[in-house]
Amino acid sequence: MSAALETPAARPFMAAQGAAVLVILAIACLLVPAYASAWTIEAILLPFLAFSLAGLGLNLLTGYAGQVSLGSAAFMAVGAYAAYNFQLRLDLPLPLTFLFAALTAAAVGVIFGLPSLRLKGFYLAVSTLAAQFFIQWLFNKFGWFSNYSPSGVISAPVLGFAGITFDTRESRYLLALSVVVVITFLVHRFVNGPARINLIAVRDNETAARVIGVPVLRTKLTAFALSSAIIGIAGVLWSFTYLRTIEPEGFNLDRSFQILFIAIIGGLATVRGAFLGAGLIVVFPLLLSRGSAWILDGGLDAGTVQLTQRIILGATIIIFLILEPNGLSAILDRITARTRSLFAKITRGRA
């Protein structure tokens, strides 16, 4: 798919795509902090950023390397709790906190990735639930992780670095944004680099991959490590820039499913898919609830409205999966392809 795009004729178009990314970034950096409402930042953009990163991390594992995980929320929790404890106990500077949180999540990810060396498919997927339940239990059980907070819920401390404290809404947003941008760039490089072949070989045919000399073991564990590290950082963003509170229940199985949903609906094995998927999962329920509140406005009791929304949400997932197997990313591809042919027609017309 992407190989097809890299023909010489497509080059001006690639440049246009790059430009589009830059424009979006410029808006995100400059216009959003200045003009967006508190609600837009707190209820849409901050969860969107954290979810995108988590979706990106899982996509690396599931989309590129073909290993399914249902324990993503647990790795978010590892990142969040690690960051909290590194800040609290070692008072590390911010970049190091992020790095160490990522490393911790990576280490835990490798441990829980070990079964992938023997298991496949749903057997592996269900096994990753072990991580989900064990890690939630661990943080809940041992007060040390939450610094013996009496109710077990932590108020996340304000992050700060080099004289800047990220306490205002806008600064938290910009911090989250920069982290997401940097990591997305690195992931983009990684999946378009030499590692891509190994990952996809393992995903598509493990035995064949072994035959042509791909280090299957190492590739799988690398995928688990990188994916968990990124999801761990997503956890840091989730708890420190978005909710500013940390509790084990916030990283439950439903959260893991949400992340899987983002990766699949967005489009497996694409970088932008994570962003599209996260956008859908953050924005769609909000629109649905606002829309139904507006349309029904007191006509039905609140419980009925909520249950109806749940049904619509579930049905939308199913309809979506039926209509568009390759996710939002494929839709975007179609749109760009159409624009490109239009673009080509215009240039041809001029020549």
């Binding site: 077990g152 629109l287 606002r290 568009e324 179609r334």
Partner: protein, 445 residues
């Protein structure tokens, strides 16, 4: 994809709606409600928010509001999830004339503490919440009204003492605390240890993993321990399962004492016969015999304005908790109006009202709630307000009160609360308030 082409205009239309809108005009006081009507805790959410809304409706229809100030509200569904609660908070917080927040969820309350302190709007966590917010010196805007988790533990132990013929009777007894495997369940572990030391009873605390649909191992352990009492600190489905599993293992149900989140009809009813004789703590009695309930039935439900879909739930534990919560909110506004005038108050003015929320048993009787709850005595530094507790027993169909109003041992708990809140103040760099700060109130503009 035609589906998405069709979706697009809908998305656009809905986006326009997402800006904040105002519902409160002059002389209205607004309650943003972070309710939960779907999901695992829907029974609690519909009962509590139903009772709250019913009481607000009653005040509007019967009295024309509080001294002429109409009460308004808007609901946002949270499904008891923190991030949904935060979204609703962000969406509704710029609505003018907000009186107070009442999320009925510890997790959501935690995520709002910084925000409401900045906004200067009270945050109420009736019967639950973060225990150390009782200390109004550190948390000016947070009110765990009536009963915080520590007081609850003390109230339960005092009740057991009363059944054993006084504090002396606890010596050498054995109590098992069966708690839900969550931060909520674990919160009182040190308090029970403290109480065990003070009263000289033997204590075993056993955890039930979430959600608690399987407890055979735990109840076998309990049977091996042969305790005199089991305190059930449950949540949701864990409660009925505890009762049926106790029955299966031959543990007498009248020796099981439930805490404040194990005390509803929804906790006992599913256990069927196994629940008959089960006793639980409560701050508000259930039943429809109180004057305020009768007025709600005649003035709200009979007019077709009731919030509960199922009228059989009128007077249930959660419904009555919602009503009591309504009374506390409305009276705080009334008290604040007496000082600041009968108009839409600012959040900070309502905070002042809550900090002077003192309802004697006589006043409670005037409000038509005698026997429904005892009294409250909130001060600027005690945001819990010395709520009394009572105990109710399940007879297979409904709860019956089986004890007097019992006072928890507040003096014993206060130093622990202060140690915790002061640590929080140090960590967050918060200056500890003095009595002089209470009357510094931010008025309108």
């Amino acid at each position: 994809m035609s589906f998405f082409r069709r979706l697009a205009p809908a998305l656009l239309a809905a986006t326009i709606l997402t800006g904040s809108f105002s519902t409160a005009r002059a002389d209205e006081q607004f309650f943003p409600l972070q309710s939960y009507r779907v999901g695992p805790y829907a029974a609690g959410g519909t009962g509590f928010f139903g009772g709250f809304i019913d009481y607000l409706t009653l005040i509007n229809d019967r009295d024309g509001g509080v001294n002429g100030v109409k009460l308004t509200w808007a609901e946002g569904e949270t499904e008891y999830e923190v991030e949904k609660g935060v979204e609703v908070y962000q969406r509704l917080k710029s609505t003018p004339g907000i009186a107070a927040w009442n999320p009925l969820s510890v997790g959501i309350a935690y995520a709002m503490i910084d925000g409401v302190t900045e906004d200067r709007v009270p945050l109420l966590t009736v019967n639950h919440g973060r225990t150390d917010t009782t200390d109004g010196r550190v948390f000016p805007y947070v009110f765990p009204l009536l009963l915080n988790p520590y007081s609850e533990s003390s109230g339960i132990v005092n009740y057991i003492a009363s059944k054993e013929g006084g504090a002396e009777g606890l010596k050498g007894k054995k109590i098992v605390v069966l708690y839900h495997g969550s931060p909520y369940g674990k919160e009182t572990i040190p308090i029970y240890e403290l109480l065990a030391e003070k009263f000289g009873f033997e204590l075993v605390q056993i955890e039930v993993p979430h959600p608690g649909s399987e407890q055979q191992a735990q109840w076998l352990q309990i049977r091996r321990e042969r305790p005199d009492y089991v305190v059930l600190r449950g949540w949701g489905v864990m409660n009925p399962v505890a009762l049926t599993t106790a029955q299966r293992n031959g543990f007498p149900v009248d020796r099981i004492i439930g805490n404040v989140w194990s005390n509803s009809e929804e906790d006992a009813l599913p256990a069927g016969d196994a629940a008959i004789g089960y006793t639980a703590i409560t701050t508000q009695a259930s039943g429809q015999e109180y004057p305020v309930l009768k007025e709600i039935i005649s003035g709200v439900y009979d007019q077709g304005k009731g919030n509960l879909a199922d009228k059989n739930r009128i007077g249930s534990v959660y419904h009555n908790l919602g009503i009591v919560n309504g009374i506390l909110n409305v009276e705080a506004i009334r008290i604040a109006q007496a000082k600041f005038g009968n108009r839409t108050l600012t959040g900070d003015e309502v905070r002042w009202g809550f900090e002077h929320l003192q309802l004697s048993p006589e006043r409670v009787k005037e409000l038509g709630a005698e026997g429904l709850f005892h009294s409250i005595n909130v001060t600027w530094d005690n945001h819990e307000g010395e709520g009394y507790v009572t105990f109710q027993q399940w007879d297979g169909k409904k709860w019956n009160v089986v004890s007097d109003w019992i006072a928890p041992d507040w003096a014993l708990l206060r130093p622990i609360i202060e140690a915790s809140s002061e640590a929080y103040a140090r960590e967050k760099g918060i200056a500890i308030r003095t009595a002089a700060d209470v009357d510094t109130v931010i008025g309108p503009n």
